[in-house]
């Protein structure tokens, strides 16, 4: 069942892209900042897991325990770094022009890249997939690697958690209100600055989590953050910058169009995601679920 295998592959791509794009789009939604350094937080998630789990030669039982620990620790460390970044670098820039904020996050991207070289060097690193997540399942005759299924499960869990947080909790209500009218929210007694720090921290937590989850399927190296960032931006733009639900739909569109491209026109496959983006933006310039800027 090659068609179904390819569908699973497209959905794996979608899950992976959603994990990265969710944090990116949430930060834009809450803070109106396009965070170019998002890819760096993602890269750090993967690097921290690689340091904690060790080389690919570590014994399996020990590595499995370390893997699960690393999956929790890495995003938390990245989130702490995110909080610090927001407090020191971004806070003075709120209300300033977009270009300045963009340049600041761009500078951060380069700084984080340089720092990663100091800490982890330029060598390729690889994180072993724990034995229980190795191998593949056969579903209706189609092949689904267990780890790909795991990535999809995590993506669904993150999606549901984000929906619950934003739609069903007072915190989510405040985050949405902060986007609409931060002054009014502050006047009503909410600590908007603290809220912004919280949103940025959560966004970077998601980036770190994505890096930690995706790390074992990749070569972990300095360029990691830059590779994924472009695709994640496309997903966020298609979905409508700021909309987490939009990012989910955008990720599925990109994942499936990439799978279809490889299936039907491998020569032009790399153009498929851009064609998808152009089509969506031609019909809805603010993205599928985006709200036009006022």
């Amino acid at each position: 069942m090659y068609g179904l295998t390819q569908l699973f592959s497209g959905l794996t791509t979608a899950a992976l892209l959603f994990l990265v794009a969710a944090g990116l789009t949430m930060i834009f939604g809450g803070l109106r900042i396009i965070n170019v350094a998002h890819g760096s937080f993602y890269m750090y998630g993967a690097f921290i897991v690689s340091s904690l789990v060790g080389t690919a030669l570590t014994s399996s039982a020990h590595a499995t325990a370390l893997f699960w620990t690393a999956l929790i620790v890495a995003p938390l460390v990245v989130a702490a770094l995110g909080a610090l970044t927001e407090y020191l670098v971004l806070r003075p820039l709120y209300g300033r022009e977009h270009l300045l904020q963009l340049l600041a996050t761009f500078a951060l991207f380069y700084i984080f890249t340089g720092v990663s070289l100091l800490f982890w060097g330029g060598q390729y690193r690889s994180i072993s997939i724990p034995p229980m997540l190795q191998g593949h399942l056969t579903v209706l005759g189609a092949t689904l690697p267990v780890y790909n299924g795991f990535i999809m499960l995590i993506a669904v869990a993150v999606g549901l958690f984000m929906w619950w947080l934003l739609q069903r909790t007072p915190l989510g209500w405040r985050i949405r209100a902060a986007v609409e009218d931060p002054e009014m929210l502050a006047a009503m007694g909410t600590n908007v600055r603290g809220l912004f720090t919280g949103v940025f921290t959560l966004g970077t937590f998601l980036a770190g989590l994505a890096g930690a989850i995706v790390g074992p399927t990749q070569s972990v190296t300095t360029g990691l953050g830059a590779q994924i960032l472009v695709s994640a931006f496309i997903v966020a733009v298609i979905g409508g910058l700021g909309s987490v639900a939009g990012a989910a739909i955008g990720a599925i569109i990109i994942g499936l169009s990439q799978a279809a491209g490889v299936l039907w026109a491998p020569q032009f496959e790399s153009a498929f995601i851009y064609v998808a983006m152009i089509l969506v933006l031609a019909i809805r310039p603010s993205g599928l679920l985006g709200v036009p800027e006022q």
Binding site: A56, L117, Y124, P145, V146, Q218, S219, A259, P266
Partner: protein, 412 residues
């Protein structure tokens, strides 16, 4: 004071001669007893591991040269800078090396596009440049200058060596997967040309062109398997190959195609993959220290391991041979002057840790070997990674372009 006309002429002559001497690198070098050489390579970014490793090989070669008394009685000093994989930065670095550091030789970059940009500048100032990582065949054909030398198997030789190996297997249905840029495209093209040249009649059942630096191959892997190829030729390497390998394992890819998969599994990739490196697949390496059985190589690899606490990658081996090549050129020419060294090396055979290398007069491409083999069952306990078994290193003459071919492509 009245100075005669003759006196004025004399003073200005001495002054200008002095200035000219002062400005000349030869004077500065001989005065200080030091000769500088430049290394502009990728020390940061995606190709940093290659650049850093090559630099270590060069540093070791220079340290050993200096320990033996240097070259023509002078100590050799290395100036190294990062080119950030950018041709513009590479050109600036090379120009600074020549105009400010008065270097006697330049050791080239990782990327062939950077190398192509630097080659013309080096020739303009008559400084020899040695390519040991970048390996585009264009560097010795379309862009050829008499100051450029290449001591790495080029983009024509490598896929031809793989073709010479794979043709013996008798497979007929081939799929290819290669990064969608100049190297990826040309390596597939040359592999297919090689198969044809050696007499194979193969059927291409599918071709995949993921972008360079792709992080997700999950769509490509089932696409290849669906075509049921006998074998897969890939132009993937480095980080891309690691990512592909890890994701392919989830699909049982290597088992399903009976390990009939070729890729450039370099030491960096094999070290990172560890036990995840697929056993039995076909690998190539441009200079694997463990498969080159010369006394010089065993001395070098031990010295390298002692100095850096790791085994030398092919980039380090080739960096070391690049320095050996230049230093023998200097000794042969009895001069540091670029034009004399280049002339001495053209058509010469140099002794290196990889064995003798003949630098063809027609294109200055070294007749270096490419090594093809299968990945070992066990991780080598001494080195800590899977090495290549049953290594096949065809005679370079078999896999090189003929001089007639290269001459036809060179600028006239």
């Amino acid at each position: 004071m009245n100075i005669s006309y003759r006196c004025k002429i004399g003073i200005s002559l001495i002054a200008s001669l002095g200035l000219a001497l002062f400005m000349s690198g030869a004077w500065a070098a001989s005065y200080s007893g030091v000769v500088k050489v430049g290394l502009s390579t990728s020390l940061s970014g995606a190709a940093a591991s290659l650049g850093q490793s090559g630099k270590k090989g060069i540093e070791l070669a220079i340290a050993e040269l200096n320990a033996k008394g240097g070259l023509l009685g002078k100590q050799v000093k290395l100036v190294s800078v990062d080119d950030q994989l950018s041709p513009a930065t590479g050109v600036t670095n090379v120009r600074n090396f020549i105009l400010e550091d008065n270097v006697a030789a330049i050791f080239g970059p990782v990327s062939s596009s950077v190398a192509a940009a630097e080659e013309g500048i080096a020739a303009q100032y008559h400084v020899p440049i040695f390519f040991f990582i970048s390996n585009d065949v264009d560097l010795t054909t379309k862009h050829f200058t008499k100051y450029a030398f290449q001591v790495v198997p080029n983009t024509y030789m490598e896929p031809h060596a793989v073709a010479a190996y794979m043709i013996k297997k008798g497979w007929s249905r081939y799929d290819t997967i290669s990064p969608n840029y100049s190297f990826g495209r040309s390596t597939v093209k040359q592999f297919l040309a090689g198969m044809k040249k050696y007499g194979a009649n193969i059927n291409i059942v599918g071709q995949q062109w993921p972008k360079l630096g792709e992080s997700d191959y999950t769509n490509y892997i089932p696409a290849i398997l669906s075509k049921h190829p006998d074998a897969v030729f890939s132009g993937l390497y480095g980080g891309d190959l690691i990512t592909f390998t890890k994701q392919a394992k989830g699909f049982d890819f290597f088992k399903k195609i009976h390990n009939n998969f070729y890729a450039l599994f370099t030491m960096g990739a094999l070290k990172a993959l560890g036990k995840d490196a697929p056993v039995g697949v076909i690998a190539a390496n441009r200079a694997p220290f463990y498969a080159i059985h010369t006394p010089g190589m065993s001395l070098f690899s031990t010295a390298y391991h002692n100095k850096y606490g790791e085994w030398p990658s092919s980039w380090a081996v080739m960096g070391y041979t690049a320095v050996q090549t230049w230093s023998q050129g200097v000794e042969k020419a009895h001069s540091l002057a670029g034009n004399k060294v280049s002339a001495a090396l053209s058509g010469a055979t140099v002794k290196t840790i990889r064995g003798p290398i003949y630098l063809r007069a027609c294109d200055h491409q070294g007749d270096v070997r490419e090594y093809v083999g299968t990945l070992s069952q066990k991780i080598n306990p001494k080195y800590g990674f899977r090495v290549m078994d049953h290594v096949y290193a065809p005679n370079p003459k078999k896999i090189m372009m003929t001089c007639a071919q290269t001459l036809a492509m060179q600028p006239h």
